[in-house]
């Protein structure tokens, strides 16, 4: 019968699809070769991400087994009990139920749930209730529409959008503990290869930790819809070796470089509204509404990852942020060309 064949074909098609997508998932999860890492939750580089990945594989195996069992039962019943022409007009045996079978398929899932729950509860506690060791790097993350503020209270550093943390040797762990706050609406800090995401909610401080075991740049972005430019609130986490991290810290702790060639730019910066929103360490500019620009040139992107950090983009951003990130809260400064060039040159000196 055509009907019969099309359904068996249908199941064959579905099985093939299943295998295909599994292959796709495996292909897509290959680790990237460069020092810039991807955003694959199954390529963990830090203990929280690894515990999650391990638990996830366990859950996947169990749910996979359940799927195979039920799918087989379903497929078998569809094929074996299909109505044949010879049976037309006769009804099959009318079976109303079976207490033993019902009990069986209640008890077995209950046991599975118990096992899954216990395995999960262990990981929850291990990650959430991990004590903070002395000497851990502490970062306060403040979410803004649409950028990240990073403050290192014990080190006296304030920066934005690109986080630097030390690599952690599994034998001598050097974790980083992050306190998560928000200045406006809800955000979420998600760098998949380092940890699960945790939200930044105003009036509701949160805490998370990472201990990355590989150096390199880890990517992420805001995961909780926060407004127009939620999509461009990107994260770059640079995990540095001990010397590199030390060097970075020392350079960030210094106030802004004073470069004689940028005097005019600095004067314009302070004369215009720029200093009302931005801070440049060691100068009069101490606005808190926008990112700290003291070491702007140490960052590889601007506008929370929306554009590469180069003079052209800087110029475009200052003149009209909506050309790069429409909906961003930075106003278009509408400066004259000369003023704009001077300010951009000044920005270029903030290494």
């Amino acid at each position: 019968m055509v009907q019969m064949k099309s359904s068996s074909l249908g199941f064959l098609a579905q099985t093939i699809l299943l295998l295909f997508w599994s292959a796709m998932a495996l292909w897509a999860s290959e680790p990237k070769g460069s020092s810039s890492h991807g955003t694959n939750i199954f390529a963990p580089a830090s203990t929280p991400a690894r515990s999650i990945a391990d638990l996830s594989v366990f859950v996947l195996v169990i749910t996979g087994i359940i799927f195979v069992v039920v799918f087989t039962l379903l497929g078998y019943s569809v094929v074996k009990f299909r109505g044949r022409e010879v049976d037309a007009g006769r009804e099959p045996a009318q079976v109303y139920g079976s207490t033993q079978i019902e009990l069986a398929w209640t008890i077995i899932p209950t046991l599975i749930v118990v096992v899954l729950f216990l395995a999960t509860a262990r990981v929850i506690h291990a990650i959430q209730d991990a004590p903070e060791p002395a000497g851990a790097v502490e970062v306060t993350v403040i979410g803004h529409q649409y950028w990240w503020e990073f403050r290192y209270p014990k080190l006296g550093i304030v920066t934005a959008n690109e986080l630097h943390i030390p690599v952690s040797d599994p034998d001598h762990p050097a974790p980083t503990f992050l306190q998560l706050l928000s200045a406006d609406t809800d955000h979420s800090f998600w760098v998949p290869e380092l940890a699960g995401k945790t939200d930044l909610i105003p009036n509701h401080p949160n805490r998370m930790w990472v201990d990355p075991q590989r150096t390199g740049v880890f990517l992420g972005q805001c995961a909780q819809y926060c407004g127009t430019q939620h999509a461009k609130m990107l994260l770059r986490v640079s995990v540095d070796g001990p010397e590199d991290f030390g060097a970075w810290v020392r350079s960030q702790q210094k106030p802004a470089l004073e470069d004689a060639s940028a005097v005019e730019g600095r004067r314009l910066f302070e004369r215009n509204a720029c200093m009302n929103c931005h801070t440049v360490g060691g100068t009069q500019a101490n606005g808190r509404f926008g990112p700290d620009l003291t070491h702007l040139m140490s960052r590889s992107t601007i506008a929370a990852g929306a554009a590469e950090n180069n003079p052209n983009n800087l110029r475009l951003w200052i003149q009209d942020p909506s050309a790069i990130k429409p909906g961003s809260l930075m106003p278009a400064m509408k400066l004259s060309d000369a003023d704009l060039s001077a300010i951009v040159s000044y920005m270029e000196t903030l290494r």
Binding site: G38, V113, T228, A231
Partner: protein, 557 residues
């Protein structure tokens, strides 16, 4: 179509002027007509919501695309979600409930016909109000047009400070108004089922569809109202200077989340339980066996209703609750999978040993079983809160819930269409077009939503109007978008089937499927009064007893 006069076979009744007919429809209190109105309005919003989805998918076809601006994108996903949940899924299920429940219990109409009409028009008005926002949302601040706060309108994004203008108020008011409509319908369904069953139909002899709509209606009463309360609070914040969710005054954004999800989670069970109802009616008929384990199915449904009230914070695993809270909600969320799984087993048990007929309603039902299983399993994955810390707010969740809503609910609704369209209109839907619809939609659905799990695993968050290249998301998103268009074509085939079959479909007769519940004992379409004489039943399958007097069900129950 049904008229309000007694049907006299062969009588020459002059055609009514169309103005009269329109007036009949606008003022009807007949549950069958209101059912059709609900379903028709839901189909209209389905197409609109579908267009919004296609716009989203075009924008996401490749990284850094420029098809629409971020502002428009954010309105699209907000309107798509809000429309589909409140103005497609709920009305279509209320519509089927309205049509079928009185017929299945042998009643003349719902308990409160005028409340029924009022509730429908409230719901429809809510939908119109929401869409009026495209025109009227500008308000005084010019920050207008449709709402763009997501269908949850999380605090403080929904507050005056972050959503000036009136766009977000359209969201709030539209849902408040249609919410009251839903409560009216729920009260009606409960009163009808408890009070108007025909003689002999004890509560444990009702068809499972009736049972499940009873449970659903009970859930609506206590699940929709928390949202209404929260929205009243939001309006007080926005217009009277209140501080319910004003974090600067000490208010709590998390409180909104709790209130929203106390509504939001039971809401999805409100949506799926009537679909379980459809499956429980259709699968037995096309397997030629009674439902396996009727009492267990009832118990499992009631169990799901209760447990689902205790799982809401699994939508909040990432907000920083304590490890004890996270563990608790992990446990309850996994636990609710048990009665749900039992139902899947019972449906397979119904098919087991049967003589399965692969008509279109059954094709959709089998696909439902397969897809709902997968959706349930991805749900179990996310129930493990650490796994959820990665998967939440990503495209994995989007894939999961579309798997439930499209792969589960919509497939079940299609099955219900193909099964009951003959009863409602007196004509069979075309099997040929039905199979085209089914296979096209199946392929499109799987292409989109199977693949969609992968970008989530690869770190793609949701609600982003564009994404960065080089993260491995481009090709996947392209495939997802292609699948969406295939689904759109399938929907067009479906709509064509609905229209063509209305005029050209084979006459259905009373009982085209050889089924066993009371609605198949009367003509297709039913007369306005439903039953000429009030039926008396002695078992769960009264028509089986009539057709098989030598072996009635009443002997075995």
């Amino acid at each position: 179509m049904s008229s309000n006069a007694i049907t006299i076979p062969g009588a020459q009744i002059p055609a009514r002027p169309w103005v009269d007919e329109l007036h009949q429809w606008l003022t009807t209190v007949d549950h069958k007509r209101l059912g059709i109105l609900y379903i028709a309005s839901a189909l209209l919003f389905l197409v609109i919501g579908g267009v919004e989805a296609l716009i989203i998918r075009i924008q996401l076809m490749h990284s850094h695309n420029n098809f629409i601006s971020p502002e428009v994108f954010n309105r699209m996903f907000t309107m798509h979600g809000t429309t589909m949940i409140f103005f497609v899924a709920m009305p279509i299920l209320f519509g089927f409930a309205n049509y079928l429940v009185p017929l299945m219990i042998g009643a003349r109409d719902m308990a409160f016909p005028r409340l029924n009409a009022f509730s429908f028009w409230l719901s429809f008005l809510g939908g119109l109000l929401l869409y009026f926002s495209f025109l009227g949302g500008s308000g005084l601040y010019g920050a207008g047009s449709a709402p763009d706060v997501g269908w949850w309108s999380y605090a403080p994004l929904g507050a005056r400070a972050f959503s000036p203008g009136h766009s977000s108020d359209y969201w709030t008011l539209a849902l408040l108004v249609s919410g009251f409509g839903s409560i009216g319908t729920a009260i009606n369904i409960i009163a009808t089922i408890l009070c108007l069953r025909c003689p002999g139909m004890k509560i444990n002899r009702m068809p499972l569809l009736v049972w499940m709509n009873l449970v659903m209606a009970g859930m609506v009463l206590i699940a929709i109202t928390p949202l209404s309360a929260a929205q009243i609070m939001l309006l007080i914040d926005r217009y009277l200077g209140g501080h319910f969710f004003d974090t600067q005054a000490g208010g709590s954004a998390v409180l909104w989340m709790h209130f929203f999800w106390i509504f939001g989670h039971p809401e999805v069970y409100v949506l799926i339980i009537p679909c379980f109802a459809f499956m429980s009616e259709i699968i037995p008929v096309f397997s030629r066996k009674p439902i396996f384990g009727y009492p267990v199915m009832v118990a499992a449904t009631v169990c799901i209703a209760f447990v689902s009230m205790s799982v809401w914070a699994h939508h909040m695993f990432t907000i920083g609750m304590s490890s004890y809270a996270n563990s608790f909600f992990t446990l309850t969320t996994m636990a609710v999978g048990i009665p749900t799984g039992i139902k899947i087993f019972n449906w397979i048990g119904t098919m087991w040993g049967g003589r399965i007929q692969f008509k279109t309603p059954m094709l959709f039902s089998i696909a439902f079983l397969f897809q709902f299983l997968i959706a349930g399993l991805t749900g179990i994955m996310m129930a493990a809160s650490p796994f959820d810390w990665q998967l939440s707010l990503s495209y994995f969740v989007v894939a999961h819930f579309h798997y439930v809503i499209v792969g589960g609910i919509l497939f079940a609704v299609f099955a219900a269409f193909y099964y009951w369209y003959p009863k409602i209109t007196g004509r069979m839907l075309s099997e040929r077009l039905g199979k085209w619809h089914f296979w096209l939609f199946l392929i499109g659905f799987h292409l989109t939503f199977d693949v969609m799990h992968i970008p989530g695993i690869l770190g793609m968050p949701r609600r982003i109007y564009t994404y960065e290249p080089g993260r491995g998301w481009d090709t996947l998103n392209l495939i997802i978008s292609i699948g969406a268009f295939i689904q759109a074509i399938a929907i067009l085939v479906f709509v064509a089937n609905l229209i063509i079959s209305y005029f050209k479909g084979a006459r259905a007769g009373n009982d085209p499927w050889d089924a066993w519940t009371l609605e198949w004992s009367i003509s297709s379409p039913p007369p306005a009064y439903n039953f000429a004489t009030v039926p008396t039943v002695a078992s769960r399958r009264p028509l089986w007893d009539l057709k098989h007097p030598e072996d009635p069900d009443s002997r075995y129950e």
